[in-house]
Amino acid sequence: MSGVSEATESTAPTDDTAELPGLARTIEALLFLSTDPLSAAELAEATEAGEGAVATALALLGELHAPDRSGIVLRELGGGYTFATDPSSEDAARRLFSRPRVSTLTPAQAETLAIVAYLQPVSRPEIARIRGVSADSAVATLLDRGVIEEAGHSQFGAVQYRTTTQFLKLFGLRSLQELPDVARWEPTPEEQAELRDRLLKAGEARAS
């Protein structure tokens, strides 16, 4: 870490009211926000400060963000500076973030998946009409999880979707014929129209 040694000799004792100079605070904020390392030149341009002042501020930050003084450590990497966490916090970070989690379907995803399962092939605009709200993010997640896939285009050019083998496995179904009969949950079982038409009709009635 360049520049750090220059600052280490200076001595002023820690004092609770000690303020960090404005330039160092700003550089600290920029390093905090940036995903990629920032070069001294980039920092100088952003802060409109001289390279010398930036070097001094970086030295000060290097001191403050040393492994024993902070959980956020200043690193010099690939010609730039970046903040990283110290390996000593690794165990806690793993407990907090890396716990494997079983993905569950959100209500919006379950609804979208149900529409695809019963009406396939079905296009995104149709799903949106039935649900009354956009289905873009739910469709993206379901595609991502491999439970639905693209199935050609509708006559109007919209991409259509169908369920996958992975979907059948997940729900323990041998085939789509094993999907439960919707009649059990139907509010008006006497209706004869096709399921798709009735779903679209109900969706439009809700939207109006």
């Binding site: 995903t35 149900a114 729900f171 323990g172 059990r184 509010p187």
Partner: protein
């Protein structure tokens, strides 16, 4: 210029907007006869002439018009047996007031949110993804672990129709022109009568159908009428001597209809 001073020149009303509102609430102007679309168009003209948009006024106008539309649609759906539901002017005013207060409240709340957001301008959060080695592995649930019933249930819920507005109260199909024709012919047989007599105590739909029946009688030459002024009494009698009873008098119904509409 405030919303209250918006000058209107409508079919049933000429004057400022707030006066119209007052008259509607007191039922001196029939909401059913008022073309709200005309009011909206007049407001749009006014905005165009002004060249700028006063948001405060525009919001108030929209809330009031929306409330009037709702009141009007409720009036249109009132049936004979619901006459006691007829909305009192005070009650209608209270409803409008409640709507305006509600709109004001949330407009103020919105302004407060705007201030909060402005106070947070310049505060940024770190959006960087976790280092790869710390990212959690998302496990797919075990095969067969998901219940297909969830899907059927979701579709069942989506099949749910919103509650229908009941149209049973609307009396349209119940009043037949033939029925009203018979009533009018009965009255005519006894001599002259006023239109008000013919429709005393009747609901709006019956009045409309009776008027239609009267036009029909006129067309057939069975009846004639006089109306001295707009909205004045209509005196109905058998055609004076010289008229051809039972024959069609094609040109005659136009001036009469125009007189009524005035």
């Amino acid at each position: 210029m405030t919303l209250a001073n918006l000058e209107l020149d409508l079919e049933v009303f000429t004057g400022p907007f707030d006066l119209l509102l007052t008259l509607v609430l007191r039922e001196e102007v029939d909401l059913l006869e008022l073309q709200l679309a005309e009011v909206v168009l007049a407001y749009l003209d006014h905005l165009e002439a002004r060249g700028d948009l006063d948001l405060e006024n525009a919001t108030e106008f929209i809330v009031l018009i929306a409330a009037l539309l709702e009141l009007k649609s409720r009036l249109m759906l009132l049936g004979e047996e619901d006459e006691e539901l007829d909305i009192e002017p005070e009650q209608a005013a209270e409803e409008l007031l409640a709507r305006m207060l509600d709109a004001r409240r949330y407009r103020s709340a919105a302004a407060h949110l705007g201030e909060l957001l402005a106070a947070e301008q310049g505060v940024r959060f770190r959006e960087a993804p976790l280092p790869a080695h710390l990212r959690s592995t998302v496990l797919e649930p075990a095969e067969g672990s998901q219940d297909p019933e969830v899907l059927g249930e979701a579709v069942g819920r989506l099949l749910l129709m919103p509650p229908q507005i009941s149209l049973r109260h609307v009396s349209v199909p119940r009043v037949a022109v033939s029925e009203r024709l018979a009533v009018l012919r009965n009255l005519l047989r006894r001599g002259a009568f006023s239109f008000d007599e013919a429709v005393r105590g009747a609901d709006r739909m019956t009045i409309a159908v009776t008027l239609f029946a009267l036009l029909e009688l006129y067309k057939r030459g069975e009846a004639d009428w006089e109306q001295d002024e707009s909205f004045g009494e209509i005196a109905v009698h058998t055609p004076s001597a010289g008229s051809v009873v039972g024959s069609v008098a094609p040109a005659a119904n136009e001036p009469a209809a125009a007189g009524l509409a005035g």
